[in-house]
Amino acid sequence: MNVGPVAFMGLAALLFCIGLFGALSKKSAVMVLMCLELMTNAVNLNLIAISRFVTPVSMTGQFAAAFIMVVAAAEIGLGLALVLALYKARNTVELDRIDRLRG
């Protein structure tokens, strides 16, 4: 028994959608960032799986995944710094209560 690329793509799609569901429905900023991490990991998994099957020698997908990891690390670092700054300014991380721009 061996596994083809479709199994990896299906797994990545499921993981992405779980992350999307969480990111859209959670009300704590930290939880939303965690779910965003799940989504970027699903994308990376897809890239690496397809790279293994289609471009195994040049490893294009692996390099793309490596650079996505860089951007995702920067994103989570800045996102959490933003959450800390918001907590200092408004004393909450609840997204419902950050509504100063609401009309």
Binding site: V3, V30, P56, M69, Y87
Partner: protein
């Protein structure tokens, strides 16, 4: 590396990853959710090993399972006033579920309609040495840009989260 990806380790890792992701969304304690994120990251690192991407599996463990999880736990710790604040309502919304299901259906349709690529992965898989050689030759410019991105993110994070008197 053999020219096949065995099914049993794949199924074990896939179930562990999906279960962990579901628990991130379904656990009512933020600290528990952070630890489930850690479990998902380790499961994905195992999947990278199955795909003979050893270097990225290593990076996944160091960056995500190491740095990002610690960062998440620190932020949770710094933004909670008391132990009880970690427990919160589940916040599951129907709209988000419908949107996620629609995206899943679209993705499934695309995956099914794809041209079948090779069912068996090719035998040749370059190792970490080849990865490093390509990183510093063909991908040298993106590599340098990535270092600038990380530097800017570092300075920005310190600027945002740092000094109180501004």
């Amino acid at each position: 590396m053999p020219d096949m990806i065995p099914a049993i380790p794949f199924v074990v890792l896939a179930v562990a990853t999906l279960l962990g992701a579901a628990m991130v969304v379904l656990s009512d304690n933020v600290v528990h959710a952070a630890f489930w994120v850690l479990e998902v990251m380790i499961g994905i690192a195992g999947l990278y090993m199955l795909l003979s991407a050893g270097y990225l599996a290593l990076v996944q463990i160091v960056v995500y399972a190491g740095a990002v999880s610690v960062l998440l736990l620190f932020t949770i710790m710094l933004t909670l006033r008391s132990r009880e604040d970690a427990v919160r309502s589940l916040d599951l919304s129907w709209t988000a579920g419908v949107i996620a299901l629609a995206v899943l259906a679209a993705a499934a349709m695309v995956v099914v309609s794809l041209e079948p690529v090779a069912e068996r992965p090719p035998l040749v898989t370059p190792g970490i040495a080849e990865f490093g050689r390509l990183l510093f030759t063909r991908w040298a410019l993106p590599f340098e840009i990535a270092s600038v991105v990380l530097l800017v993110a570092l300075v920005g994070a310190v600027w945002w989260a740092g000094s109180d008197e501004r």
